[in-house]
């Protein structure tokens, strides 16, 4: 997908002098340079790179805090980054809908759930900061005109229902309104603009960037490189690197190009690596998350992902070889992805497991219609029909359904300890809808280290790099080993807002 080859250049943290030399020799290579003596082509007040949740929220917040000249630069031809093609799931504690549904929740509880999935290496201070401000970010989306399903969902690893989802079941239900709001507020948005490195001042502070114009992703197009001065600083909201196969394989060699990916093609990580070159601290790069709700029957996130996310709490995941369940269907993502990858036939070949749901329950989500219509999910009137279609041994499957239904009744899953709250009364019975599951690379927990002010720490001095802020998936270490679903949107938006606040105060 990507022709970006950063791996060929292992000495990425070099002295500035050396880096500048490289820039002369190979102009296509992104590197930082000293700003001393540079002729600026343009000067802006607030410079934001990336137009996903983090970048858009940063732009709106900067404007609200009084910035008059805010610019968002996006390398792709379209705005929204990976945020425009994900599930649009937003977790927050103490929301209006929780009040309405009588769900008891708190910042502490949300942080505790995330710390458990983080398996001891998450950043509690950052998780707490995000949870404390999540409702503010949700309100920003309300202000912009985002609309949500009138019910909460309980996603894997969450101990209560705290997740909103846009009515279009997609992050675009947030990015499109935020983008419109940005423009209404006078934010300047530039597409086809490729970040090519920082320009740094005498004390190592970021004073501007090099920005290639008229950039065509994946093409060799010689657009002009402008030197743009950023008066207040630069906010890096450049996202993860799940689409950069070389980079992700450097961290985890099993994530070859054959492993599917839910991300937008632009998620290639150059912004992050440029910050490492500058001195930022790499954290948890090897923790790359696969989504256990994805389908091998369509590309990317598709229609199935949201179908399964909604239905997991009241569904049974079945190993087709045994006809038995093999996991807690709402465990955290890593637990489930690992369990799915272990589903193999006798020869060891991948045998994607199936998710069985009663149609009476699945049909409540709009995606159910889509998965059936577009042949990425199927409806069956009997267990026999279902078992035959997927070549599942009938007897054990029937026994498993009976056993699972006894857990629905008792509220206690004796097989895998699944939280059965959301399964109450939802027995598995015909007619069924079924999708196949196989994990796809979805999210990079790793990135640059930041603090609760969205400042980027320098690995040599231990101090924050002046003029530089980072927000969203480009940052690392916040979630630890496994990020819980619907916790990225609040993180992106809160940290984008935080970056803007810090910058406007600095």
């Amino acid at each position: 997908m990507s022709n970006v080859d950063l791996l060929g250049r292992r000495n990425f943290i070099k002295g500035m002098g050396a880096a500048a030399g490289v820039a002369m020799a190979a102009p296509a290579m992104a590197v930082s340079e000293k700003a001393d003596g540079v002729t600026w082509d343009k000067e802006v007040e607030v410079l934001i790179i990336g137009s996903g949740f983090a970048g858009l929220a940063a732009a709106i917040e900067a404007t609200r805090k009084g910035a008059k000249d805010v610019h968002i630069f996006e390398k792709m031809s379209y705005f929204g980054g990976n945020s425009a093609i994900n599930g649009g799931l937003f977790a927050a504690p103490g929301t209006p809908m929780q009040k309405k549904e009588g769900v008891k929740d708190s910042v502490d509880r949300m942080v505790a759930d995330q710390l458990a999935a983080g398996r001891g290496i998450a950043d509690e201070a950052l998780l707490r900061h995000v949870a404390e401000h999540a409702v503010e970010a949700l309100e920003m989306t309300f202000d912009a005109g985002s609309e949500y399903h009138p019910y909460l969902q309980q996603l894997g690893g969450h101990s209560v229902a705290r997740t909103y989802q846009t009515t279009v079941s997609c992050g675009a239900g947030i990015t499109q309104p935020l983008l419109k709001m940005c423009r209404k507020l006078g934010v300047n948005t530039h597409n086809r603009s490729k970040f090519e490195g920082f320009l740094v001042g005498e004390k190592g502070e970021v004073v501007g960037v090099k920005m290639r114009q008229n950039y065509h992703f994946g093409e060799d197009q010689p657009g002009e490189v402008l030197k743009i001065k950023a008066k207040r600083g630069v906010i890096m909201a450049t996202g993860g690197f799940a689409q950069n196969v070389d980079l992700r394989m450097a961290q985890d060699p099993t994530l070859t190009s054959e492993v599917g990916c839910t991300n937008a093609p632009g998620a290639t990580g150059e912004g992050m690596y440029e910050m490492f070159r500058l001195g930022a601290i790499p954290v948890h790069l090897a923790h790359i998350q696969s989504g256990p709700w994805a389908s091998p029957d369509e590309g990317g996130f598709g229609y199935v992902s949201n179908y399964s996310i909604y239905n997991f709490p009241h569904s049974m995941a079945i190993n087709r070889l045994t006809g038995k369940r093999f996991m807690d269907e709402i465990a955290d993502r890593k637990t489930r992805a690992d369990a799915e990858l272990a589903c193999r036939d006798e020869q060891g070949n991948a045998l994607p497991p199936i998710l069985i749901t009663s149609y009476k329950d699945s049909k409540k989500h709009p995606n159910t219609k889509k998965v059936i219509k577009y042949n990425v999910g199927w409806k069956f009137d009997s267990v026999e029909e279902l078992a035959k279609h997927f070549d599942v041994p009938l007897k054990p499957l029937k026994a498993q359904i009976e056993e699972y239904n006894s857990y629905v009744k008792s509220g206690e899953d004796k097989q895998f300890g699944k939280n059965m709250t959301k399964a109450a009364g939802k027995y598995i019975e015909a007619p069924f809808t079924v999708v196949r599951l196989w994990p796809k690379v979805h999210y990079c927990q790793g990135g640059v280290q930041i603090n609760t002010k969205a400042e980027v720490k320098d690995s040599f001095t231990g101090q924050s790099i002046a003029g530089l802020y980072a927000a969203g998936e480009v940052c690392g270490g916040i979630h630890g080993v496994s990020r819980l679903g619907s916790c990225s949107i609040p993180e992106c938006m809160v940290m984008g807002m935080t970056a803007a606040r810090s910058m406007m105060k600095a």
Partner: protein
């Protein structure tokens, strides 16, 4: 016009995968554009056309009307879609001299029967 063709030929010889056939253009463009490369290549012959080039003649609202789908699938309209509204540059899905898949097929199995690859 001759010089333009020569320039174009020189550009194309540099691109291994393209043959002379690659300068084929759609029938409905032959009458209105003919061999005037600059009609579309407004940033110079070596560069891709700008994202405004197609909009000299095509109107996105009109296109959105033409490709509208039923209410339940309304967001599959490529010219007014869920993820990018009416803003997706034409070149993401259409190439005059090369075949392209609709961008939607990266993730979705729904089809666009009239899309010319």
């Amino acid at each position: 016009m001759k010089t333009l063709n020569i320039v174009l030929a020189l550009v194309l010889t540099g691109l291994v995968s393209l043959s002379a056939q690659a300068v084929e253009i759609r029938d409905h463009h032959k009458d209105v554009i003919g061999k005037d490369c600059k009609a579309c290549h407004d940033n110079g012959i070596k560069q891709f056309p700008s994202d405004q080039a197609c909009l000299q003649c095509h109107d996105v609202d009109e296109l959105a009307k033409q490709t509208a789908r039923s209410e339940e699938d309304k967001w599959q309209n490529p010219h007014n879609n869920l993820h990018y509204g009416k803003e997706l540059p034409c070149q993401e899905c259409h190439g005059e001299h090369e075949s392209k898949q609709p961008m939607c097929s990266n993730c979705h199995t729904f089809k666009f029967d009239k899309h010319k690859e």
